[in-house]
Amino acid sequence: MIEVSREFKQAVYAPIRKTAAKVVFAILDNGAYGDATPSATSNASISRILQLTDKKREMSHKYGTFERDYFKLDGSFRIPPKPTELESDLGWWSGEICGAGGVFANPQTVTLDFSEGHNSIGLTIIFDTLANEYAVDFDIFVYRANDELIASKEVVDNNSSSYVWINGLDDYNKVVVTIKKWVRPYRRARIVEVDFGAFQEYAGDKLIKVNLIEQMNVVGDTLPANEIKFVIDNSSKEFNILNPQGFYRFLKERQEVSLSIGVEIEDDIFEYVNMLGYYLVDWQSDEGALTTTLTARNIFDLLDKEYSQGTVTNLYELTEDVLLKANVPNYFIHPSLRDYTTSGFPDKVTYRKALQCIGIASKSALYQSRDAKFIIEPFVVLDENTSYINFAGPDMFTGMVTPTVYSGYDMKNITFDNVYKEPQINLDKLIQTLVMVVHSNGTKTEYAFHNEGVKEGATLKCDNPLINSLSHATEIAKWIIVESNLRALYQVNWRQNPALECGDIVFIEDSFGAQKQSRITKQEYEFAGFLSGKTESKGGV
């Protein structure tokens, strides 16, 4: 569950509530980031100019330097990191300091050179958003090969720490940003990121409808990808194919998309829950309507490519090898995966299939978190963190003491108060026999495991090349049988709560007062002026 404020918790299940949604999607030339070689007229000793194109759009912290009247001792600043502290993001800091009027005696120039031509809908320059400092007067020059100037922009009186220049740029090889004046005197110029394109935000009247599906498969033969589908107002014809000024020619696959769903916590103040890490896969202008429909899926959708395995000794190393080769840099692998020794896959598999096999072989959940991190951790660990019975109840105030208890108690209780119809409960098929295939030294041996006390039921076969011993097969078989016995499938149409995630253990109220726990396996959100949706969960009978 996403941690949210107390006000959010009250507002999300209030009898009258107001919700909002916004979709931000990038129209970027992703190829330009890896191809850019940045350089500058001057660099401060703490400058990290290579971070200009790392897609991190905010400094890790505000860093205190001896620029006049800058380093406030209010606890908001940190000492700049040592060169060895690589995880800190600073971007470019000029070596020179501007004068009393903010003007640089020598204009500070940042140059980005590319080995090949790139196309983008414009450029976005992100200055120091944390300190809210920025260049006031600066120039942007864009060149083709042989220094042929193709576009330029003289910016005067800029008043934002993020500057967006929308101007179709085709086949450019060099970008030069010349900073002439900074917003405050006696400062170094700072640019945290240069984006090769722009970010479009759709909310309010511009966002007609958005639908999000999040899924988590426990024991299955697929690794489902989450999907966002959104319809936007295209009355300005920005997305029409034939519009020469439109976005269409710059739309490419793997553009980043994020969705935020908010709940009003005060008059016109919304607290948003962000769903990051989606990539544009499809877009179309809707015929007969002034709208465009766009579809984005998470990283799992991009993993259907063949995996070429390196040398590994355990499931942790194997997972890391898969993720790095699949270009998934943001991940968390639970250390317990080191306990499973393996030499990997004897035959070729796709990245997606490889991850799915690893998930089953380690009894783990595989999912992308809301902050776009790929996570693989055993279900037993996930359940420890999300189980309802670990929560002591809502915060209480007794006299002068506020007992520290988890205040998310009510959030995981899906009651009739927020449900339109009584939840539907179906029973999944029971497994009577589970056939485990053990792969050892190029041979396959089948072992049958029986679900005790079950006289009739289905037979399931688990053929996973990462299961190489009878003891491992027995462990996995026991787990699959226990999971399959959790066969109550709950389906509830309700108001939805964006703070709840797949994997969370919830109580879904029923008219028999059974109060059974179940694990969320699918979340559907629909926003069309208001939020509603569907939750599917799986639990014991």
């Binding site: 009898p15 009258i16 509530r17 108060d417 927020n418 108001r495 208001f530 939020l531």
Partner: protein, 114 residues
Amino acid sequence: MIKIDGKEIPSPSDYQVGIMDISKAERNARGDMIIERITTKRKIELGWKHLSKSDLQTVMNAVSPVFFKVEYIDPLNSVKKTGTFYAGDRNVGALDYINGDIRWKDIKFSVIEK
């Protein structure tokens, strides 16, 4: 009193502002009402007992676009507010017709926030 697309129109003799809550209301499984508030909009009913031909033309032309900006006095805090509106059906009555000259009375219509 009222400006449409930045131009003052004759002050109406009848001015009613309706505050409309746009909601999706449905009963929950317990039978209680739960309301998803989408937004709140204004509906302004305007009326003039009498308008000269030129004033009527000004008013009618002002509300002829599909959407237009209206600056009006909002009853919530009695200050001027601006919003985008569209016009409902316009009704105009004839006072008399003498020597080929018509005079108009009871001009009424609503403007509804987009």
